[in-house]
Each structure stands twice: as structure tokens, then as C-alpha cells.
């Protein structure tokens, strides 16, 4: 099968009538994702690409029984949108929106946990289970179905690695883009655990980067709880300390979060760490 989503996922798009929301809704539908409708407050009753638009998530969930939502609304409204989804009973919320203040995310995360909703992101490209469904902006062309699980903090780097794998005939069970923000809903460890328990996943590719200690926690998990092989890459070996490298979370601060310590921890845990992401397919073959 896959983790988190499969062809049975029923998806609502929050901000479906927005530019980004609408564009990716079409691409998701083309890919075969079951988009049940969307929400734009004030536009309830309209239709978008043949799908109903609702004013509220509560109404949308009641009508469609959707269980997954994709948040594409601007940063100022995104925290509210995620909480609305969690409150409406959505089990899996994928938040693409970037530039959400960390203080808001900390509240949102506590709220989601209390409501039993899993949040992916924010500031992430979303999920794709090749051949079944995609929720987010990962391009269809970067992966074919297969047995490698991919989890990553980064967007285009993931596409790059997925595409390289595809070119070498290696397929993917699920790609999970967890995002590069400091506070995110789902961590490497969460996803590694799911892949470990997923019968369709044989090996895992982990794409990390500088900042924070999520890769160190991942290494601990790999060492203590994983039986499946892991190939990894950590971006930012050439990044200077104290400078934020694009992603809000990508900063080596007070000696914490350097690529070196992460690579060392991953290698010590038995992961095979590539110096060049183009080596990843080789490490998984």
C-alpha cells in the first residue's frame, strides 16, 4: 500500500478558489486524487471544476465525508484554516502555506494534537503516493510507484532525488515533504515509523538539512527501531553558522544543527549517507 494517503483518500482544498489552490486542485484531479470539494468562506454554493465549494470546513466535511485537507490559504489565514480542519474532524491536514509565524504554529500544533489530527507541514510540498494520489504540489513526473519511501524537509531537492530514482527505474511507495520550518506537524521520526510499519515500503530515503535536531532524532530512531535500510542526504555542509539558508528552520545556531553532526549521527545509526544526492538511487538499488 503506502502511508498516509492512497487512492481512497477524499480531499478538501482550503482556498480552492484561490490562484494556487485552484491550480494545484486541477493537477491533483488530473493525477487521480479524489478531490471532494473545497472551502472558501463567502463562496459556499459555488462550484470549482465540478466540485462543490463550501463556506466552512464543518459543512464541507458533513456533506462530503472527506478525511484529508490541503491548506493553500495565505499565511495570515493559514493557522485558522488548519484549526478549522482539525475541529471539523479531518484526520490528515497538509499545509502548503509558507511564512506562518512560529508562535501561531505552536498553538496550531497543540490544537491539532488535542483534536487527534495529523498535520503535515507547514511550508511543505505535500504528499504523493505514486499511481494513487497526490495532495500538494509535488509534480507528477518525479516518481513512479515502487517500494522506496521518501521523506524530506525540502521541495525541489526531493523532486531532484525522486526524478533521479525514476530515471534509474526505482519506484516510490510514498513521498512525504515535511517542510523546512522550525515547528512542523510531522517529523522525520513520525514518518520513519510509518514507513517501518508499511509492508509496501522496503527501503527509505531521508533528505535532511541543517538546523534543529530532527535528523539526530531520526538517527536515534533508525538505530533503535528500524529494520529497513535508510539512505540519507543532508544539505548545507557548506553553509556558515548563524545564517538562515532560505528555510526558516535552516540555521546552524550555537553550534547546534550542523550538517556534520547530523551526517555523523545518521552514519553511526547505520544509514548510508550520500555526499551527493545523485548518489541516492545507487545507495537504494
Amino acid at each position: 500500500m503506502s502511508i498516509l494517503i492512497d487512492s481512497g483518500a477524499k480531499v478538501l482544498v482550503q482556498g480552492i478558489t484561490g490562484r494556487q489552490g485552484g491550480f494545484h486542485t486541477k493537477l491533483m484531479m488530473e493525477y487521480g486524487t479524489d478531490v471532494a470539494g473545497g472551502v472558501t468562506p463567502g463562496k459556499g454554493g459555488e462550484w470549482f471544476e465540478g466540485k462543490p465549494v463550501f463556506d466552512t470546513m464543518r459543512a464541507a466535511v458533513e456533506t462530503t465525508n472527506a478525511d484529508v485537507s490541503l491548506v493553500t490559504v495565505p499565511a495570515r489565514f493559514a493557522a485558522d484554516a488548519v484549526m478549522e480542519a482539525a475541529d471539523a474532524g479531518i484526520r490528515l491536514i497538509i499545509c502548503l502555506t509558507e511564512h506562518i509565524p512560529v508562535a501561531d504554529m505552536m498553538k496550531v500544533l497543540a490544537f491539532c494534537r488535542r483534536r487527534g489530527a495529523r498535520l503535515i507541514g507547514p511550508n511543505c510540498p505535500g504528499l504523493m503516493t505514486p499511481g494513487q494520489a497526490k495532495v500538494g504540489i509535488i509534480p507528477a513526473m518525479v516518481a513512479e510507484p515502487g517500494n522506496i519511501g521518501v521523506v524530506s524537509k525540502s521541495g525541489t531537492l526531493t523532486y531532484e532525488v525522486g526524478f533521479a530514482m525514476k530515471n534509474q527505474g526505482i519506484g516510490i511507495s510514498t513521498i512525504v515533504g515535511i517542510g523546512g520550518d522550525p515547528v512542523i506537524g510531522t517529523t522525520f521520526v513520525d514518518v520513519l515509523e510509518m514507513f517501518e510499519n508499511d509492508p509496501e515500503t522496503e527501503k527509505v530515503a531521508l533528505l535532511g538539512e541543517i538546523g534543529g535536531s530532527a535528523e539526530i532524532a531520526a538517527a536515534d530512531f533508525i538505530k533503535n527501531a528500524m529494520t529497513k535500510p535508510v539512505a540519507a542526504f543532508v544539505a548545507g555542509r557548506s553553509a556558515p553558522p548563524g545564517k538562515r539558508m532560505g528555510h526558516a528552520g535552516a540555521i546552524v545556531d550555537g553550534g547546534e544543527g550542523s550538517a556534520e553532526e547530523k551526517i555523523q549521527a545518521l552514519e553511526a545509526a547505520g544509514a548510508r549517507v550520500a555526499a551527493n544526492p545523485e548518489e541516492i538511487p545507487g545507495l537504494l538499488a
Binding site: T156, L157, E209, R244, H247, P277
Partner: protein
Amino acid sequence: MKLHEYQSKFLFRDYGIPIPQGKVATTAEDAFEIASELGGLVVVKAQVRVGGRGKAGGVKVARDAEEARRYADQILGMEIKGLRVEKVLVDPGADIKQEIYLAITNDRGAGMPLIMASMEGGMDIEELNRERPGAIIREHVEPILGLQNYQMTYIASAMGLPRARWRDFGTVLAGLYECYLQSDAELAEINPLVITGEGALLAVDGKVIIDDNALFRQPALVEDHDTSDEQESERLAREAGITYIKLDGQIGCMVNGAGLAMTTMDMTKLYGDDDGIGPANFLDIGGGATPEQVAAALRIILSDANVKCVLFNIFGGITRCDEVADGILTAYNEVKPAVPMIIRLQGTNAAEGNQIIDAAQIPNISSAETLTEAAQRAVAAVKQGA
């Protein structure tokens, strides 16, 4: 957004935290005036937003106003870790009996604010953490609930603060939490928080970093933003809305996506490090960059005299590589860089994109197939040019 020491402390003052009665000077004469007003011993402190000012000679204790003038004259204009000192803070000397460390930061892993406090203040928290981690009291705050009184008592009690100081410490901690919260800080640090000879608490040094994503609701902080110590190229990039960070290498990098941008930097270093070659910058042009933005980015990269080669690395996902190629050529024609340029396009419409680049037949532009090839060729180009 990092605040200067003086800004951090003035912000603390707004939240009821006692700070020294110092002022900021931009000239030695001003420093003399301030020191005269304050009387007695003063401390002249370089206002640059990096650590290690003291070791670099940027912090001096002056016995009188005359000495303060002399030190200010030395410190103003000084370069500390590449940043020019444009301002000094002249603070009255404090009668220090005890130095406390107190900070609130975002704990990423827990997704909660974390308070750190220690009776062994004054030194670097990372150093303290390495050497005596047990000396630091750590307490999470529930983000929805906020800081509670019992937590303040716990911290004061657990860190071993004398009881007579608990009430004042509670006021400082409550103020610091409110400051952290209201300012959308990712770090609000007082180090040291001093207990003076008379038993008063005083925030002698401060550091506040604001969450860039929250600046939209921090107009006052944005307005006061003091970039006097910022590098020219980074200022230009910031004004153009581009994420650019200057580095020491020779290969200018222009990439879509932060993770891929770091990776591209890493590749130039992987293949060039033996010859002392590496990335000249981090630059993420994002998803839907216009030719104008590409041109602006190119100009910024080239404003760095170290740059001997420019490497474009674009993975077209939703973005189409042929459109990116058009954008690059437009930018090229506007900027006309003389250095060699390696262009690597992959993903959606990569073939078409490469065709466009090749068809333009610009002598110093060539396209590469893979990231590895692109990085290696960029390194080779720098070596050839050297």
C-alpha cells in the same frame, strides 16, 4: 530579524524589565557627552549583531568621560567579523554581585516556548550547556496557555535564586515572556541578568531575534530595524525580495528552492574544496521568478568581486524549464556578465530549455546535464580562470 543589544534592552524596558540608563552614540563626541551625563565608570559597547564583541575589542570599560570618548573613537568604524561598527552603547557600570542567564526561545522539537535559566550567567549558553548542563533549568511553556506563576516559582526555586529575589525575578521573567510573545521573538535573552550590590535585578546585556514570518504584525519593530551593520549585497537582495547570503567562495549559485540551493553550494565545495574552490553565495530564486528577478539576482551575485563563475541549477517541477531558460537569457542580455555561466536544467521541459540555451550560442554560457556535471564544470571554470 536580529535586534541590536540597545534595541533589545530598550524593548525589555517597555515590558518592565530594569536596564542600565545608557544611551547610544554614533560619534566619539556623543559618547563623551553621554558618559559625562552618567558620571563615573561607563561601558562602551560596539553595536554589531554578532557574538564575541568582547574578544574582538568591541567592549571597553572607561573610568571617565574622556576615556569613554577615546574608546568610542577606537570602536566606531571597527570591523567585527566583517561587520562595521556604526554605533556604540554607553552604559553606566553596574555593581555586579551575581550574573544570571535567562532566556526564552522556541523549542523546535517540542513545538513549545522554552525558558532557560541559570545562576551561572555571563558566559556563553552553549559553552555552559556543554560544560555544566545541569546548571541550566529548563521549563516549557504551553503555547496556548502561556506562562503560569507556579512555573516562575519553580524556576526561581530550582535554579537556587535567593528567596529575597524571587518577586523581582518573577517580574523580570513575566516581562520577558510578554516581550517574547508580543514581539513574536524566536529568542529573547538576558545575559547577564545581574544582581547588583543593593540586591536589584538589572538586564545588562540583551539579545532579541524576531521571527521574520511575523514581521507583518510587528510594524514598530520593522520601522526601528537598524541595518547599519548589514552587508551591502545582502541589503540589495533584501530590497529586491531575494534570499541571498554572501559566502567566501568563487562560484555564484542561482537555484530554485532552499534545499536544492544548499545542495548546489555543497556540490561546488565537494568537487572544489581541494583546490580552495566553493560557493560564493546562497541564493534561492523561488518558484515563479520573473526575468526581472533573475536579472536582479544575477547583478547581486556579480556584485561580489570573488565570483569567477555562475552556476544555475533549476529543477522544473511545476515551473517549466523552457520558461526559465527564456528568463535567464533575458537576464543575461540585461546584465551581460563576463564570467563563465553553467546552466543545468532538469525536470519539466528540460530538453526544450537546454535547446533554448544552446541555440542562443552565447560563448560564456554552457549547459550541463546533471548537478554533478554542472558543479564539476563550474569548479573547472574557476580553475581555468585562475
